[in-house]
Symmetry: C2
Subunit: 336 residues, 2 copies
């Protein structure tokens, strides 16, 4: 295992300390591992909270700021934060108009966020939850791959956070924001391909093995193996295969405009991500879809995994408009 | 070799096509490989141009936009663009007040940009050049490592582009901007450490070999070996050793404030880059230096190399002020 760290035990705390130094407009609490806006909750605004295991940086802390989250909370690498810490995030985001928590669909996360919401309600806070479950690789109801826990939550988290964040900034109320979040999630699907596995610091070896000419199709963001191991092929074929699965599950809808994310899983250079986007564009055009907005970069990573995830949201007029409004976070920033 | 591409021959063209799709505010010319502002040169503003080999993304094209470059030009991977293409970038940046070209110190680049400047002058353009040579690993005058070509240009390129870009946006004239560029370069040093080498697409195998417990100290951004191969150690020791070399060469000066970049070389997760920043902060503080501004992320990469480069600029009042002014490029964006 090759990592720039002092020890597997200290890597998360050291990383959060560095994050605090890099972003003085964020408050990073080393005890609770809650990352929140330095100015505290915005009066009169619905609070937005997300979180999950570490190892997906910049998700989640990198999306705290104007136009996105009010607070994020991280657990150990690939491990859900505990309910008490999630509660601390909810309190850090609360200005009295209610809080929306955006939760990726994993058993630990959904349980712990649900428990935190109960604790918060006991304290008089109003909490609504949007569960993100966009991973098309886990939506295939085939044999051993069928999952009773439903689809995993991955890249669409960024879309839900951005669009709900924009709506909250405009003063919308909690039910409206939660409804928009559900709509964005329902309109979005993702799929990922890994060229190399990742290594969890506390484990010390890769989560699966790949030969020099192999890739993992339909991989998750926690080092788990994907749907199947395949020969590495030209990227045009990889993207066509991946989008075939994704588009097959993308809800039909009146609008053919999309928001697309080409997301590096951690170890893939931007040079290659742009190549992927070029292929995505060609496949979507053939499918009668246009790209209205694009994100290309590392947004939802899996430590040092090499590969890419694709997320497509069939966006309506409201989503497209909200997407463009100002956002100011470490990882996403425009218009302000 | 595992890369998301169709072929080594097409990777650059495909990547530029994807870049054009991702950034409609940029104009990407597939023939000349010049990336420029979609709106053309800004009337009354000194033009800023940079460029070099591909494989360092987001450098250089990702820094085109308000507050930084007017045009960038890329050659093949790790290969200087030819003079005629550099000339096309100079013309794309020209609004009649002169052009500053910012060139990393490599033989091919300095020769080709000098030739392009001559061609441009023949056409009546006024061109000044700042050569960036900040790599402390090549500043050690020891035996085989001594280089008659001087220090390599690496991370400080971003600092020179940002500060000169800010000054140009404010309406400064060419001599003032060139002088500021020289000052930023003189006040900056970098050093890099690789945990894994990179693979040039057209070559197909890594540029050097590293065992599972080794790292390369003082590495360059073109897959060339570094000063020495060393055992991988806790990051606190790596950063202390790297900054010892860097700070030894950092010009003494009245101001103890710095701008610091912790730059991923391509395959290193943000989680680890924040850990590195935390150590950098501790070492600089012991050295009596404070960090006024920080960049943490992938800015000057070497394809899929794993590792980090550190750049420290001992900044004066003018630099610190200019740094904060609005910038709007794909890779650096704030205040607008």
């Amino acid at each position: 295992m090759k990592k720039l760290m002092n020890s597997a035990e200290s890597v998360l705390a050291d990383s959060l300390a560095g994050m605090a130094l890099a972003h003085p407009d964020l408050r990073v609490d080393p005890e609770t591992r809650v990352i929140s806006r330095a100015g505290g909750p915005v009066p009169g605004k619905v609070g937005l909270v997300s979180g999950g295991g570490a190892g997906h940086e910049p998700l989640h802390g990198g999306f705290v700021g104007r136009g996105m989250l009010d607070a994020a909370v991280v657990g150990e690498v690939f491990t859900s934060p505990t309910p008490d810490r999630i509660l601390a995030a909810l309190r850090a985001a609360d200005s009295g108009r209610g809080i929306l928590q955006i939760v990726k669909n994993y058993t630990g996360d959904t349980l712990n966020f649900a428990m935190a919401a109960e604790l918060a309600e006991d304290l008089g806070l109003t909490v609504r939850t949007v569960v993100v479950d966009d991973d098309a690789a886990t939506g295939i109801p085939a044999g051993a791959q069928g999952r009773s826990t439903g689809r995993r939550g991955t890249g669409a988290t960024v879309f839900v956070e951005r669009i709900c964040g924009a709506l909250a900034e405009q003063g919308a109320d909690l039910p409206a924001i939660a409804e928009a979040g559900e709509r964005v999630n329902a309109a979005s699907r993702s799929i990922a391909v890994a060229l190399a596995p990742c290594t969890v610091p506390a484990v010390g070896h890769p989560g699966f093995e790949l030969a020099d000419d192999q890739m993992e199709f339909g991989v998750g963001i926690h080092g788990e193996p994907g749907l199947r191991t395949e020969p590495l092929r030209p990227v045009a074929e990889i993207v066509a295969d991946a989008l075939a699965v994704l588009l097959d599950q993308l809800p039909a809808g009146g609008d053919d405009r999309t928001i697309v994310m080409v997301n590096g899983l951690g170890a893939t250079p931007l040079l290659e991500l742009y190549v992927v986007l070029n292929e995505v564009y060609a496949v979507l055009r053939k499918a009668g879809l246009t790209i209205a907005h694009t994100l290309v970069g590392n947004y939802v990573t899996a430590l040092d995994m090499a590969g890419v995830s694709l997320t497509v949201c069939r966006a309506d007029e409201q989503m497209l408009g909200l997407w463009k409004t100002p956002v100011s976070t470490p990882a996403l920033r425009w218009g302000c």
